[in-house]
């Protein structure tokens, strides 16, 4: 196992000496602790947070997203014009941007990267995020034309995501299947140095980087090295931060956050604009959960407030709406349809719908017993499912938990075998969330509910093509209200972004894009 110079210094000298000898800490290496690795680092092919969080640092996108999750900032594009009909975007690209290998980056590279993202050969699961593209071409070295078949109000938000990260064509073609595995030539604030899968990813500072988003000020990264270190065990991550084996992490278990806050050498910062919702979805065409009354009763029966307090130590907020109230285009009408904890009402709803207790204490109707099978991730989700199971048992629903390891569950979740499933997801806006889950074209995955509704599809298409903010907000709002009324999900909690870091680091402002709390890594710096 490699130990960073910084860590070695600390371990070797002990805390007292290290404080009195700040000069030794000159090799500025930040060790970021995280839970799991990605299987590769190819922007359009990777949809997991574990891939995006590193890609944001190694590469750049056309535009950036501010911490407020609303404002679009320039990144590779210094400015852009949108045509009257909302179909053509013209991006003016910054000059002087260089790849890590020193080669200048031009609009041609951006066009290549975006066309690669949406190319049918790559089969990217997130190609739809780029919109209904007519063509993306470089008009000259510093002008890019992005033409759509229909207006797409979400475009800039989607272009800020890691999927459109600019890659180097030569690099992609030279490495072939090993692209993003043995190397990655990007334009980001950090460059690929080495990757030891499931152990650590080492990035070095990109010298001369000065095209970062305005919110981070000018200039290159303030540290020489970033090490993304995998520490799968929750408690170990907490201890690693406490003992100085890591410098920063947003993967601290909820149970450890209180302890970390009380430590004099650790700072924990929080952002509520995180837009990350954990929910349990229902396959709405399966016997039992196909009955809206059953889904409503399940929503009534599960005490999410108690779960947030007891299992997550009040570090999360219980969720009742499918997207956070702070998200762009949230429909306030939904507030009247949120289903809160009321077990007595749950029993009443079930009995009114004809679900009666059988001899085993499980509800039954027309030969169907309420024993829905839930496919869940192991770890925290298995615990969440257990709490849900216990609550449901109290109203006569005998949920069966089937946990799967993260390596096999994605395949299992694309099947029609289960009645319920667990999932957490990051989003930038209401539209982002709804497009991902409720378009009929996204069946069987990620639309694992089999929500197949022409009206929803039409509203989503209208909203995406809307040329005014009001029209878009009203269409998305209608969809949100519709699915919320149908109770196709059981929202569990909204997760705020909490970043814990050692005190000798400069203050960190958590970002929330796709759950990547450190975003470009440009604010990482040591004070000593």
């Amino acid at each position: 196992m490699k130990v960073s110079t910084r860590t070695r210094n600390r371990l070797g000298l002990g805390a007292a000496l290290a404080v009195s000898l700040p000069a030794l800490a000159s090799a500025q290496t930040v060790t970021i602790l995280r839970q799991q690795d990605s299987n590769k680092y190819d922007p359009p092919a990777i949809t997991a947070l574990s891939g995006s969080e590193v890609l944001f640092m190694m590469g750049d996108t056309l535009v950036a997203l501010n911490e407020d999750m609303q404002t679009i900032e320039p990144l590779l594009a210094k400015s852009w014009d949108v045509s009257e009909d909302g179909k053509t975007y013209t991006f003016h690209i910054k000059e002087g941007v260089k790849f890590c290998d020193g080669k200048p980056m031009t609009a041609e590279d951006i066009a290549y990267s975006i066309n690669r993202w949406i190319s049918p050969e790559l089969k990217s699961g997130v190609a739809w995020r780029a919109g209904d593209v007519k063509e993306v071409v470089a008009l000259d070295d510093y002008t890019l034309k992005y033409e759509l078949n229909a207006p797409y109000s979400e475009l800039l938000y989607q272009l800020a995501q890691s999927f459109g990260t600019v890659v180097d064509k030569e690099n992609v073609e030279a490495l072939g299947a090993d692209f993003g595995v043995t190397g990655f030539n990007g334009t980001g604030p950090f460059c690929w140095e080495s990757w030891d899968p499931r152990n650590e990813m080492v990035l070095t500072k990109h010298e001369g980087y000065n095209w970062g988003p305005p919110m981070y000020g000018e200039g290159a990264a303030k540290v020489d090295k970033v090490i993304w270190k995998i520490v799968p065990e929750e408690s170990t991550r907490t201890v690693a931060l406490l003992t100085g084996q890591g410098d920063v992490s947003y993967y601290v278990p909820y149970i450890g956050l209180g302890k970390l806050r009380s430590m004099p050498n650790i700072e924990v910062v929080r952002s509520d604009a995180a837009f990350w919702t954990n929910y349990i979805g229902f396959k709405i065409d399966k016997p039992g959960v196909s009955d809206p009354a059953v889904r409503e009763a399940i929503n009534l029966a599960v005490n999410r407030e108690a779960m947030a307090e007891d299992m997550f130590f009040s570090e999360v907020d219980p969720a009742y709406s499918y997207v956070s109230k702070g998200a762009l285009d949230y429909n306030a009408e939904v507030d009247a349809h949120l289903i809160k904890y009321d077990p007595d009402a749950a029993v009443k709803v079930l009995e009114d719908a004809g679900w009666m207790l059988n001899a085993d204490g499980v509800r039954e109707k027309d030969g169907v017993t309420l024993e829905p099978v839930i496919y869940t991730f192991t770890g925290e989700w298995a615990k969440t499912s257990e709490a849900v199971q216990a609550d449901l048992l109290k109203v006569g629903i005998n949920m069966q938990i089937q946990p799967y390891d993260a390596t096999v569950i994605w395949g299992k979740l694309a099947t029609q075998e289960f009645d319920m499933y667990t999932m957490g997801f990051p989003y930038v806006s209401t539209g982002d969330a709804l497009n991902l889950y409720f378009r009929s074209a996204n069946i069987p995955s990620p639309n694992r509910m089999n929500w197949d509704d022409p009206e929803t599809d039409k509203l989503l298409a209208d909203a995406a093509a809307a040329t005014t903010d009001e029209k878009r907000a009203s269409d998305y709002g209608d969809v949100l209200l519709k699915v919320q009324k149908a109770a196709v999900w059981l929202p569990i909690y909204e997760k705020p972004m909490q970043v814990a870091y050692v005190k000798n680091m400069a203050p960190i402002k958590p970002h929330n894009i796709y759950g990547a709390g450190l975003y470009k890594g440009l604010q990482l710096a040591f004070t000593d």
Partner: protein, 312 residues
């Protein structure tokens, strides 16, 4: 294990017992050997181990009567420490887990499932394994084939086998039982074959053949009866190991499905609370330790008093 292959057990037939010293009544009273039960009682460690095992088994058997709470019902009092610690609650003798469930009650139900998984898999593996061992000793023609197959099985670690089975069948007690049973088969087969080949050399087998007994009768009445006690001792020794591997598989998240309580799974769930509420992981771990230790000490003691090789 290999020692067993050379032993010559005392055949429990008329002719054999006539050859023991007790056959000469005229002599001075022979130094009467104490019964095995008495000899077992003289071994204090064995008595303690057997007593512990008995108590645990009874507690597990009567779990529904002894449990103070429903082991599956969650409450709002999470991570309550054991009653004797500050902040403890006498209602929750051993405290509560991360979901507010009573650990004492879960321990009883957990021991029940853990013991059951151990018993079934050892029973299954022991039965199949000893049959294979006995048959291969009885029919030398298939001996090499069966034993090489057992060698092959022996090369599969139980944990790996469990992982593969769970990947195919999904998490649950059944794949764990199958994995543990399969992993017990080769060991039992080798031991059984060792014991049986010793017995096969005895004169009474030849005598049986000479009087024209059928293979089935010879196998059942002469071979099986003479081997069974030694095999049983080995199986009892295996029990502790199987419990331990079973708990390890559960700890890895391959065992019983939630909300069922299982000791390994309880320890695994407590792992996340290790820094803050160590009792959640420590209590089930201690329980596993005690069960395995008691099973091993008791198995050893039983072998000491029952194994014919050690009696002479």
């Amino acid at each position: 294990m290999t020692m067993a292959a050379t032993e010559t057990p005392e055949p429990k037939t008329e002719t054999a017992s006539a050859a023991t010293p007790a056959a000469k009544p005229e002599d001075a009273p022979p130094p009467r050997r104490a019964s095995w039960g008495r000899r077992l009682m003289r071994d204090r460690a064995a008595v303690a181990a057997l007593g512990t095992l008995a108590i645990i088994c009874l507690a597990a058997l009567f779990a529904p009567l002894l449990a103070t709470h429903d082991p599956y019902v969650n409450t709002r009092s999470v991570m309550t420490p054991p009653a004797w610690q500050t902040g403890g609650d006498i209602a929750y003798l051993l405290g509560t887990d991360g979901q507010g469930r009573d650990i004492f009650s879960r321990l009883l139900y957990g021991a029940r499932l853990t013991l059951l998984i151990g018993l079934i898999s050892v029973g299954l593996g022991g039965f199949v394994g000893s049959m294979i061992g006995l048959l291969s000793a009885f029919y030398p023609k298939i001996d090499a084939w069966l034993m090489r197959f057992m060698d092959m099985l022996l090369s599969f670690p139980a944990i790996l086998l469990g992982l593969a089975l769970v990947a195919v069948m999904g998490q649950g007690a059944v794949p764990v039982i199958i994995a543990l049973a399969i992993s017990s088969v080769p060991d039992c087969a080798r031991i059984a074959r060792g014991i049986a080949s010793g017995v096969m050399k005895m004169e009474f087998i030849e005598a049986g053949r000479a009087v024209g007994l059928s293979d089935a009768a010879l196998f059942r009445r002469y071979l099986l009866r003479n081997c069974i006690s030694s095999i049983m001792i080995f199986i009892s020794l295996r029990f502790g190991q199987v419990i331990l591997i079973g708990a390890a598989l559960s700890f890895l998240g391959l065992g019983a499905r939630p909300p069922l309580a299982e000791l390994g799974m309880m320890a695994s769930q407590g792992r996340d609370f290790l820094l803050f509420a160590p009792h959640i992981a420590v209590i089930p771990s201690v329980a596993i330790f005690v069960i395995v230790l008691a099973a091993n000490v008791a198995g050893d003691a039983l072998r000491d008093v029952l194994d014919p090789r050690l009696q002479t």
